[in-house]
């Protein structure tokens, strides 16, 4: 992370979104919205005086997934890059017309700017890499049998990561969220939302088998006297050293039970799992203190809208569509836009890193040339026939057509003008042209009619 921030060739823009993309490969015009931070980052040193003194101390911490508390002015977490403070506008007292302003008074760098506003900047770039990642499937909305999220000790795997992390809200001690008690038994349920046509997604999320093996191991490692149960449909460990890692969890004492959990309900201080062992054909009831759900990976929020803004397609599940599943896994159908990581489909870290490097090579391939060749199979305008009606302009999905003024015998008239770099030769404009002034080179009206003649005459 620090390597990224310190690299002289990388300009890091956080708290920002891409709102508009125009242009084409080699020549994109990008509009970036920089959200108001209410802190001048040129001055902020990240000293921490502000968040230590901020009176709003009991806000739910998004970074800790609600397991911890945070302040209205803060850094996301202690090792955040950049390590600069920003104000959460929804919760800051001053920004919600209440009295405060303590941070402004105490900041030794005088960096607080309550009047800060969103800012839009435009940049010219030659290529775009999409790396918008994933979100977790909202199991609370789909799985009633697991309590719709109303049992505090039924948590997602990412919650478990925070609980197991030395930097997390429990200091790395594995305890129940409800009462802070060390669990005597933890159950892990795999494929929650994955491989479930009826309630979730049909696909496999790929990383869950391995991180659940890791979690089951961590329980046995940190709490040797506690039980660690894993309920699974299949164990998929297709990766270098993955099968060995799974075996290590088994050797550490993790108990793998093949079966779906049909219901979770409380009994006293415990949670009861109704399930079966399909290898023994036996119904089971297991009592545990905590349940961890390996939830499916889904495209990150807003990914579909962003794809529309930039102009490429998404697949049936909303992941970004690669140009070919085998031969062009990092390209999109829009030249100059490449995919990296889980935005293209569920992926673990090694695969993500590999795909990111592949996308980088594709970008460097473009940048190795001074000029790029473009296909000549594009629309051309016969200006003698063009009436300037403009019907073709809104039809073009690539915004390649504009109306230009043409000076002629002492007056000017409008004619369609094709941007040869933007035009992809799709032909959508041709039926919109009433005067047949538009023609697609290589697929002219005459050529198509000639083909039809050959078939019908």
């Amino acid at each position: 992370m620090v390597a990224v921030a310190q690299h002289p060739n990388i300009e890091l823009v956080t708290l920002a979104e891409v709102t508009k993309v125009a242009g084409y490969i080699g020549n994109f015009d990008v509009t970036i919205k920089k959200k108001a931070k209410y802190v001048d980052w040129d001055l902020c040193t990240g000293c921490g005086t502000c968040w230590e003194k901020c009176p709003e101390k009991k806000l739910l911490d998004d970074f800790e997934l609600g397991l911890g508390q945070t302040t209205a002015i803060r850094v996301a977490f202690p090792q955040a890059v950049p390590g600069k403070a920003y104000i959460d506008a929804d919760h800051c007292r001053v920004l919600n017309d209440r009295k405060c302003g303590i941070c402004e008074k105490l900041c030794p760098a005088e960096a607080i700017r309550f009047k800060d506003q969103d800012e839009y900047v435009t940049e010219q770039v030659g290529a775009i890499v999409m790396a918008t990642g994933y979100d977790l499937f909202k199991w609370e909305e789909a799985y009633g049998e697991y309590g719709y999220g109303k049992y505090p000790d039924v948590i997602s795997s990412l919650h478990f990561e925070r609980i197991a992390s030395a930097g997390g809200p429990t200091g790395g001690n594995i305890v129940r969220p409800s009462d802070g008690k060390v669990p005597e038994a933890v159950a892990f349920i795999k494929c929650v939302g994955s491989r479930d046509d009826t309630k979730g997604k049909s696909y496999c999320s790929r990383a869950c088998c391995m991180y659940t093996a890791k979690h089951a191991f961590q329980v046995k490692d940190k709490l040797p006297d506690s039980e660690s149960y894993v309920f699974y449909m299949d164990v998929r460990t297709a990766g270098k050293n993955y099968e060995e890692f799974y075996q290590r969890s088994l050797d550490a004492g993790a108990k793998y039970i093949r079966g779906r959990v049909s219901k979770i309900y409380p009994r006293g201080n415990k949670l009861v799992l109704k399930t079966e062992d399909t290898l023994l054909s036996m119904a089971l009831e297991v009592e545990v203190d905590m349940v961890v759900l390996a939830t499916a990976m889904v495209p990150s929020e807003g990914a579909r809208d962003l794809a529309r803004v930039i102009g490429f397609s998404t697949d049936k599940d909303g992941f970004f569509q690669e140009a070919h599943p085998k031969l062009q896994p990092v390209e999109t159908f829009t030249a100059g836009v490449y995919l990296a990581g889980a935005c293209q489909g569920p992926k673990d870290i090694p695969d993500t890193v590999a795909q990111a490097s592949a996308a980088a090579v594709k970008v460097c391939g473009i940048f190795s040339k001074e000029r790029l060749a473009t296909e000549p199979l594009i629309t051309e305008v016969d200006i003698n026939k063009c009436s300037g009606c403009g019907f073709c302009v809104p039809v073009c999905p690539y915004k390649a057509i504009t109306l230009e003024e043409l000076p002629e015998r002492g007056f000017t008239r409008l004619v369609a003008d094709i941007n040869s770099s933007l035009c992809q030769g799709c032909g959508a404009c041709l039926p919109a042209c009433r005067t047949t002034a538009l023609n697609l080179k290589g697929f002219t009206n005459e050529q198509i009619v000639s083909e039809v003649d050959a078939l019908c005459l």
Binding site: E17, N241, E244, Q355, L455
Partner: protein, 194 residues
């Protein structure tokens, strides 16, 4: 432009020839107006197949080329290049798709062969109206935009930056690192994520 079309019918091993009678299609092609040469061959996309196109353009003085084989998405570039090597503009080559749109989807040999003839006849009619086209070039801004600062975005940004190009990395959260920053240890090595 003179009308001297060469038609090359591909067997694609048995992909096409097990359904379409490629010999018959090539013989039929010879009868079409404008066609001065037609043949069938096992793999048109192979080196000898491409060499056949190049040589025939010179020997027969071809002005247009039709390759009846697979979809141009598969081998369009291959045959445009072979045509250029023969000294013609690549855009004077057209493909008739007798594999994806014919042999792979039709079981009846007779009907499939008749359809292949139709497709070849249509394509010959089209190619007679083809004009040489020139490739244009556009400039390149050597600066990349990476959207998302998780593992994928950081890796891509670093690799592009290391290659000597400028990168703008846009992240919607206040910090880069993405989901990785929330993860404790990573499999299979159990080293720290952050």
């Amino acid at each position: 432009m003179k009308k001297r079309v060469g038609v090359f019918v591909c067997e694609c091993g048995t992909n096409i020839s097990s359904v379409v009678n490629t010999v018959e299609v090539a013989e039929y092609a010879k009868s079409l107006p404008g066609v001065v040469f037609a043949t069938n061959y096992k793999y048109m996309c192979s080196d000898p197949g491409q060499e056949l196109i190049r040589k025939t353009i010179a020997e027969e003085g071809l002005e247009q080329v039709v390759v009846a084989s697979c979809t141009p998405r598969m081998h369009g570039k291959t045959f445009y290049n072979a045509t250029e090597k023969g000294g013609l503009n690549g855009y004077l080559c057209e493909m008739a798709n007798i594999r994806e749109q014919n042999s792979w989807v039709h079981p009846d040999k007779e009907e499939a062969t008749a359809k292949a003839k139709d497709l070849v006849r249509m394509t010959v009619n089209k190619v007679l109206l083809n004009k040489p086209l020139e490739v244009q070039t556009i400039p390149v801004t050597k600066k990349a935009l990476v959207i998302g600062g998780g593992i994928a975005g950081m890796q891509a940004a670093l690799d592009i930056a290391e290659a000597g190009h400028k990168v703008i990395l846009v992240e919607k959260e206040a910090t880069i690192g993405g989901k990785m920053t929330q993860i404790d240890k990573t499999f299979p090595t159990m080293d720290c994520a952050a």
